[in-house]
Symmetry: C3
Subunit: 278 residues, 3 copies
């Protein structure tokens, strides 16, 4: 695993918010021990304790970073307890996070280590800030050339988030809203390739869209449609306003797409037959 | 244009917000291809789709950066459509943004290129995230030594924002509120040099100020006044509270300053004659 | 003071917010003059003009950074007036801020200089943005090797914040809420070592907690307790919700802890005697 010798970039993803000193404390500890590191914020606005949102964001951001990046994610309701600290070597990167399901997508694909390196940890009066006192030193050690396998024993019983997979059966796609972004776009877990080229009816929160477009600008003003999002899954969007707000969509809502037929055509945009919407 | 060989700093200005993975994805792509780059956030809190606010912020921030800086601005309602991607070499920097008016201030003063480099673009499942898939690779290429002229053909038909210029006639200055900051200061587009040294009456949103000061601290508690802002234009401010909130001022509001006479004096602060305010 | 020759990291703490170009302008000026600097945000979300919050955040974050770090703090209601600009060499770092009490914790422990270097300052049309025009150039000079003593005369009359110290008398600890974090944890100024191991009753905002734990996860769902926070002072927390919101606690509120007895035991968690809470 010589590729880990040149680590230089660490990303940070937390629920610490931006009003407090917490993020800076973590960065200060990392830079004290790995002064050449480049630190990149993913987000610190994860809702407090929301492991699933952190997982979504990390899975979306990580593939954009170069090999050897260390990804630190601290959303950690169990801080200070005996929950483990994990380091997972996967996808040419190392992921560091509490053992609470946050690293689920990488557990199967990588080597999972339960970090046990008290010699690295920062001495601290309390047990409430492992991000500063334990996670940051571990990230700094990785950036300074420590190999994941030197951090602790390999384990195979890490906690996993139960993420129900999307399904398709009898011309019906069933999935979930996995994210709502700042523009009010509604990101689903349904692979874009499942939609085909025929007419459909996409339903969420009691509303429906029947138009497919390639990008937001192809929608008419105020029109809702379905498109292939930046993660390769289907996304619902409304031109000029927040679809999530207008339709009352929240993360976790069920999404159902009825494929009304499939002509195998590759037209990107078409109108529904008259009367398809009541 | 050898000055572009040593580019090392890129600034980022978007409407992506800070809750999402979007900013990190852009940074990851840039750092993957230009690992030595220094990335500086201007803001990611531009209201969604608000090209004019982005223009204001970029125009205010850019002059503070060293020669050779690459400024990336992605406020891009037309993402994925055939709107062009521009690179403008101007003011010893390069500005990269969609062709939607955001770069208006630099179009006259620089060389404008319509970027056409599919070889640089990132392969992606959708067409909704050009910031990651197209803009970031172009910025990385510039940081790695690519010259703007290598990005595509020079063009002269870039889209411009219609920014009505401030006017002065018959002792009346007419302008607009171009920005409201976090403190509630109201920034106008009126050059500070137009005010002269005599008595005046500055009107906005049905309220008026008649006092000029050099800095906020020279105002009395609760007093409103006019001063020379950090961009060289006139600014209205209220000591100890938000003038914008108190007076109900919004960006775009008209500002009118009546020069009641001009004694050519250089006094900075003076009182209105009695009865000037009804 | 040769340790100041290798300065490379500057932290930034302001009340500029994240919507504006202000933070970027400061960074651009620093990087123009010290291009190799590593810049770390502490926070820019300090409530406007709130010197005491800035002081708290800087005191909490600074010890995490390596020797030689330059800490810039700009919360500056007096910008443009004749209030002084201070540089304080203390704790193996340099602190730069307006002379308004923000640097109180370091004034006794370090060398205090009143910066007087117009040759460094940026020429500017107005006097409203010293962060960009004066503070940033001073930080850049320090990062480039300038020693604090070269910035201006040493002074001993810097303005101090009156921070009432916590007290203990007759088995009663009296302190204040010095911070409320994003999770609703309530941080006090009472040293954790004062609590001892016996039963107690901690009162704030008309509510009380009588349980001590080592970390948040040791509380039962919905239970309130006292623990040793990350700064070594006592903290009140509620499992699964914001204690500050639930109890209506705000910064500055009085905190009173009655030590009901002290058995000198080292039990971390115990129940109150029956009837202790009415």
């Amino acid at each position: 695993m010589d590729e880990y010798g040149a680590m230089a970039i660490a990303t940070l993803l937390t629920d610490f918010g931006l009003d407090d000193y917490y993020v800076a404390a973590v960065k200060g500890v990392i830079l004290s021990r790995a002064p050449e590191a480049t630190l990149v914020d993913v987000s610190h606005q994860v809702p407090p304790g929301d492991v699933e949102t952190a997982l979504f964001l990390l899975r979306a951001a990580a593939p954009c970073f170069p090999p050897g990046t260390v990804h630190l994610a601290v959303v950690d309701p169990g801080v200070g307890s005996d929950r483990r600290l994990l380091a997972v070597a996967a996808a040419a990167a190392v992921f560091v996070a509490p053992d609470n399901g946050l690293l689920t997508p990488w557990l199967e694909r990588g080597e999972v280590y339960a970090v046990d390196r008290p010699d690295l940890y920062r001495r601290s009066p309390g047990r409430t800030f492992d991000g500063r006192d334990r996670f940051a030193p571990v990230v700094a050690a990785l950036l300074a050339g420590c190999r994941p396998a030197e951090l602790g024993p390999r384990v195979d019983d890490a906690i996993r988030c139960a993420l129900p997979p999307p399904r398709r059966r009898d011309g019906v796609l069933s999935g979930r809203v996995v994210h709502v972004d700042r523009y009010g776009n509604v990101v689903t877990d349904l692979p874009a390739s499942w939609l085909g080229g025929g007419p459909f009816r996409a339903e969420v929160a009691g509303h429906a869209a029947t138009v497919r477009v390639g990008c937001y600008a192809e929608l008419g003003e105020g029109e809702a449609g379905v498109l292939t999002g930046s993660l390769g899954t289907l996304e619902l969007s409304l031109r000029g306003a927040s679809l999530a707000a207008r339709w009352g969509v929240e993360r976790g809502d069920a999404v159902r797409i009825v494929l009304e037929s499939d002509h195998g055509s590759d037209i990107l945009r078409h109108e529904d037959p008259p009367g398809a919407e009541e």
